[in-house]
């Protein structure tokens, strides 16, 4: 250990660095490598939204906004949540807080409710930030494994044994990254029945809500018995292809918003002003673009799922987000080895499922936020790789059998 590292806090030390970044540094230096690795839209932010960002700077809107965000934006968010997801936060002055991306929202939500030692339930596989954020807040992450045979949905029977007297919160994230799983109203009802009488707060990360391909997105906050106990997190990154603008929001009861605003105002002050103006335009006039992007993602999703199934990598049908999560168990390779060999042998980068928690073993995450041409080419290469692995497996078996005969 380097001498200076002893000064680093235990909680920071306990979080391992992301091993994936190193893996993908190789990709950026590799010639002709194709990547299915990124978790952000390939579309550029629609022009009317970009234009409004530029215009707001031209107009001289270069100062802080209210800590909570521009009032007009909060009003639009309130209207949007009602119109799109039937979520009622009419008192937008006190029930909505504009944040620097959904990432900040997750952090301040956890920091405003977690006491040292409190447990936070996290269904796995999950977005890589949840566990570190819980640890940074002084909490203890408790994993709940979700299973491919349940389409990676969270089941009541999975939650019950993980609840203890120290359980403070649960993070729900549907549509899910990396699996693409969604929860229907019936699925959620089962969870609501478990949680409604318990003192457990739900942090509901709904950043992929607009990218729901079948049926419409349902939030656990749609259930009246859960509304008060749920902190809804959403943002502009995925739906409006606005990742670089760093703009998200939280909708919750005044009490939670007040607490989160404390952290937010002392650490962040306020979200970027030009991004907020752009976001107003996004909510007012951007939904038709969202619809177009969703349609395009949906086409790629179907194509990708069908190709994986055809090449013998069993792939349940993700109903949301922009990832597919095929099983690679039939190749006999563990996730990381699969990803590494695929990269070196066929120059295709995918993310090993284990990056999203232990229950991701045996899976890889492939993003379809790429042009259909790239997807097609990458899948051709993956298919070749899988065929090679399988034929090697068969020839090894034949060799082994022959040896048995010779004996």
């Amino acid at each position: 250990m380097n001498n200076l590292e002893k000064y680093i806090s235990k909680s920071i030390q306990s979080v391992p660095p992301s091993g994936i970044r190193k893996f993908f540094d190789i990709v950026s230096e590799m010639k002709d490598a194709l990547s299915l690795g990124v978790g952000e839209p390939d579309f550029v932010t629609p022009w009317n939204i970009r234009e409004m960002g530029i215009y707001s700077i031209e107009e001289g809107h270069t100062h802080y906004t209210s800590n909570f965000g521009l009032l007009e934006l909060r009003k639009e968010i309130s209207r949007y949540l009602k119109d799109r997801f039937d979520l009622d936060y009419p008192n937008y002055r006190d029930q909505i807080l504009v944040t620097v991306g959904a990432s900040e929202a997750i952090d301040i939500a956890l920091r405003s409710i977690v006491n040292p030692g409190d447990e936070v339930l996290i269904p796995e596989p999950c977005f890589v930030s949840y566990k570190p954020c819980v640890i940074f807040a002084g909490g203890v992450p408790v994993e709940i494994e979700t299973k491919p045979e349940n389409d990676f949905k969270l089941r009541a029977e999975d939650i019950l044994p993980r609840i203890s007297s120290r359980t403070k919160a649960i993070i729900l994230s549907y549509p899910n990254n990396p699996t693409g799983a969604i929860m229907t109203k019936d699925d959620l009802k089962e969870i609501v029945d478990v949680l409604k009488d318990k003192d457990i707060i739900v942090i509901s990360d709904e950043i992929y809500a607009e990218l729901t391909y079948e049926g419409s997105h349902v939030s656990i906050a749609n259930f009246p018995e859960m509304k008060e106990k749920t902190i809804v997190i959403n943002g502009f990154s995925k739906a409006f292809a606005m990742t670089g603008w760093r703009l998200g929001f939280v909708a919750a009861n005044e009490v939670f918003i007040k607490a989160m605003a404390k952290v937010h105002q002392y650490i962040i002050m306020s979200a970027p002003t030009f991004s907020q103006y752009a976001a107003i335009e996004a909510l007012k006039n951007g939904l038709s673009e969202v619809e177009k992007m969703r349609e395009e993602y949906n086409r790629r999703r179907r194509y990708m799922v069908s190709r994986f199934n055809k090449m013998g990598l069993e792939c349940f049908e993700p109903k949301g987000a922009f990832y597919v999560f095929p099983s690679i168990k039939s190749t006999g390779l563990p996730s990381e080895e699969f990803a590494e060999r695929l990269l070196y042998e066929q120059k295709v980068a995918v993310v090993p499922g284990t990056a999203f928690g232990r229950s991701g073993e045996g899976f890889i995450r492939c993003s379809y936020a790429y042009s259909i041409e790239t997807i097609k080419q990458a899948l051709d290469r993956i298919e070749k790789f899988v065929m090679n692995i399988k034929s090697q497996g068969v020839s090894r078996q034949i060799r082994e059998n022959n040896m048995v005969v010779e004996k």
């Binding site: 992301s18 994936i20 978790g39 930030s129 259909i372 041409e373």
Partner: protein, 162 residues
């Protein structure tokens, strides 16, 4: 949106996709998509499968010009007859009837500026009912048929967040 429109949207973006691939992308039956494409071709909804080439990147010398043409409409035929006379020339790539300062917007292609000047001077301008022409040479194309021809935007997305 009906399936025909969806098929057209996909093909407009990428005519190289097979009926099978489009069927998968739309969650439809392959046969149905094949029939739709066949019908769209027969009905001349799909007129042609076109490739957008950035000739500036090749050795081939191509010059294009936009010619503003003022004409006298003919009794009984309006602008159609004169437009037809003009679009039959192989040098003419596109003809649009416009509202405004002039009537026909004619896109002409040739090997050199001289070529185009000759075509306009000797064939287009002397046509009966053509009152005047104004020729504008295209210096550079930035975007054509909805496609940005320059080196576009590089995919600079990081691989995983965070």
């Amino acid at each position: 949106m009906n399936v025909e429109i969806k098929v057209l949207e996909i093909l407009e973006q990428n005519p190289k996709l097979s009926a099978q691939e489009i069927a998968v992308m739309l969650g439809e039956d392959k046969k149905k998509i094949e029939e739709i494409i066949k019908k769209l071709e027969q009905d001349k909804v799909i007129v042609k499968y076109h490739t957008i080439v950035n000739w500036e990147r090749t050795e081939k010398e191509v010059v294009e010009a936009i010619v503003e043409v003022k004409v006298t409409p003919q009794r009984g035929f309006g602008y159609d007859a004169i437009a037809k006379r003009i679009y039959k020339f192989p040098e003419v790539k596109a003809v649009y009837l416009l509202s405004g300062d002039y009537d026909l917007h004619v896109v002409v292609e040739g090997k050199s500026m001289k070529d185009i000047a000759q075509f306009v001077g000797s064939k287009l301008a002397p046509l009966e009912y053509v009152l005047s022409t104004a020729t504008h040479f295209i210096m550079k194309k930035y975007k054509d048929a909805g496609v940005i021809l320059e080196d576009g935007e590089r995919d600079d997305r990081e691989v995983i967040t965070p």
